[in-house]
């Protein structure tokens, strides 16, 4: 799972949170709490979360409004309470492709440094190539696009 070896593009978000790692970990792993912040449609939509919290266990987040519903689901890969949580993630936003989310929590006094890494999992076709990572090529491409 070392990020240096991944072949897909990576999204990483970091922030310092005014809470303990344990408090944050709770929000990511208790269904009733997950349902209160993970849905991108707050308020207007009914959100139900469930999870079988163990490595290999699955979780799901179903957001429904009237007849339509959206589901995000995944499998826990690594649980190291309250420092690290790794799980797969699949839903409309990932175009229903499997992705990997890594949550890292590093205590800093009363606060916690949160690092969230979300990466596309390489497909077999991608693994056939030898990649050095995406930052480099995307930098070049972004330059190319902005120059045109």
């Amino acid at each position: 799972m070392a990020h240096g070896e991944t072949t897909g593009p990576i999204v990483q978000v970091r922030r310092r949170v005014r809470a303990s790692a344990e408090e944050i970990f709770e929000l990511w792993t208790k269904p009733d709490l997950m349902a209160r912040w993970m849905s991108p449609f707050p308020g207007a939509v009914d959100c139900k979360a469930s999870c079988d919290f163990r490595p290999g266990g699955t979780f799901s987040l179903v957001m429904s409004s009237g007849e339509s519903s959206r589901e995000v689901s995944g499998t826990y890969v690594q649980i190291d309470r309250p420092h690290k949580l790794v799980f797969t993630w699949m839903g409309p936003l990932t175009n229903h492709a499997n992705t990997l989310v890594t949550l890292e929590l590093n205590p800093r006094g009363d606060e916690t440094d949160l690092v969230l890494t979300h990466e596309r999992l390489p497909t077999p076709a991608m693994l056939e190539g030898h990649t050095k990572g995406w930052g480099h090529i995307l930098d070049h491409l972004a330059d190319a696009v902005s120059r045109t």
């Binding site: 593009p9 999204v11 929000l27 070049h140 491409l141 190319a144």
Partner: protein, 132 residues
């Protein structure tokens, strides 16, 4: 029905993205894309700097074309290749979309942390409940 249609669309978009990632997973193909990002070029011009046969370079070019990363058009007898920036927008789009999602979700998470602290509902010492 609408749901199925949007799922189909999403699936084909995924397949397209995967094709783009696969195409760009090779160093020679990345070099070709970088060359074309400077300007369009003939197949022979692209093959020149590579220490491989024109045929081998052509194979790489065909992979890039199939993935939609580059396009080919004819100018008289020449085949001119150019980059299709739209296909690369999709990669950037995925990254932007996911970053936006997580930034918003983490904002919501922090708001909830604030609410819970106010309500004294979150007691770390009670953590054994419901965690297994």
């Amino acid at each position: 029905m609408i749901e199925i249609e949007s799922r189909k669309k999403a699936a084909s978009r995924t397949a397209r993205l995967d094709a783009v990632f696969a195409a760009l997973a090779d160093p020679t193909r990345r070099a070709i894309v970088e060359r074309l990002s400077r300007s369009e070029a003939r197949v022979t011009e692209i093959a020149e700097p590579f220490d491989m046969s024109l045929n081998a370079v052509s194979k790489h070019i065909r992979v890039l074309e199939a993935s939609g990363v580059i396009e080919r058009h004819r100018q008289g007898r020449d085949h001119i290749l150019s980059i299709n920036t739209h296909s690369l927008d999709e990669i950037d789009g995925w990254i932007l979309r996911m970053r936006g999602y997580w930034e918003e979700r983490l904002d919501a998470m922090e708001r909830l942390l604030g609410e819970l602290k106010k309500d004294h509902k979150l007691r770390p010492k009670d953590r054994k409940h419901g965690s297994r």
